[in-house]
Symmetry: C2
Subunit: 160 residues, 2 copies
DNA sequence: CTAACTGCAAATTCTTTGCATTAGT
DNA sequence: ACTAATGCAAAGAATTTGCAGTTAG
């Protein structure tokens, strides 16, 4: 894997331009910052990092930029149920492959798994096609998450 | 299907009691109201309906009760991306079978589909087992949603 | 009886909007 | 230059919390 698909600033610039958007300093920065952040940062966390490098950035801009990047397919948006929206670069822009999430409903721990993904993706693709046909939808994406209790929390419950 | 699995007040009463909770008037009412509501009502909508029959109910109680019912597996909770949390009775309590959702990101229309579900559930079950083993999680549930643009919105886009 | 539950009001938290200013192309 | 994008302050919306009074078991 190792960044094989990583995209440079040039690519993002063109990607945005093509869709009629400008490639601005805050946008470049947010892409850069998010690409370097592990896990699934919230708006606040992204703002915090961006602010370190460019103190005049506003929280509003972070909100608006993330919304734009999600809309143009550069960033993925998740709700893991902790009350804040979380983000990550779409796989292809980070050298990561497509993955799904396993969420501990007790402590919030998130595991990204890629095992078993191939079979899942095949079935999801098949389902997408069938749904498109049957309901006349242009299906664009899917969300698959598993919820449970992680081993740490399981142990805590046994002997509290 | 036809309510084959529908549960009566007695069942809910015992279900809550077993877990150490009381079966109160507001709780009974919310279960009743939600069971009768089609689609995926928000907290406000559930409150509105409940309020008709029992005007002294408070919005806070609706929030707290739904949280409780979700926690005890009676109700399912969804985020379809419109900024409010949405709910429905878990399939078995409504005579509905397990289903997934197809969401129009343009107008918010939700389609519940049950086609292909059997195959999906088989694979999801298999994945749950594998994830449980590999990551030591006790997997409790999953969420699968498809996003796209419905035919109405597709048409609007062609000729605006 | 008495601990759990309720309802109100106030507080919090996340997110969006309006608008004057700045900056990309 | 011309318009999209930004940043600030203020508004808005959903959800949570504190607490005194009520109710189920």
């Amino acid at each position: 894997m190792r960044g094989r698909h990583r995209r440079g600033a040039r690519w993002f610039s063109e990607h945005l331009r093509e869709q009629g958007y400008r490639y601005t300093v805050p946008r470049a920065l947010i892409i850069d910052v998010l690409s370097a952040m592990p896990g699934h940062p919230s708006v606040e966390e992204i703002y915090f990092e961006a602010h370190k490098r460019y103190p005049q950035i506003g929280l509003t801009t972070v909100y608006r930029t993330l919304e734009l990047l999600v809309r143009t397919g550069v960033v993925l948006k998740f709700d893991f149920g902790d009350g804040r929206t979380r983000f990550e670069m779409a796989g292809a822009f980070q050298g990561k492959s497509h993955h799904h999430h396993l969420i501990c409903t007790s402590c919030g721990k998130i595991v990204e798994y890629t095992d078993f993904i191939k079979e899942e993706l095949d079935l999801l693709k098949k389902t997408e096609d069938a749904l498109s046909k049957k309901y006349g939808f242009a299906v664009k994406s899917h969300l698959l998450q598993f919820y449970g209790v992680c081993y740490v929390c399981l142990k805590k419950r046994e002997q509290p």
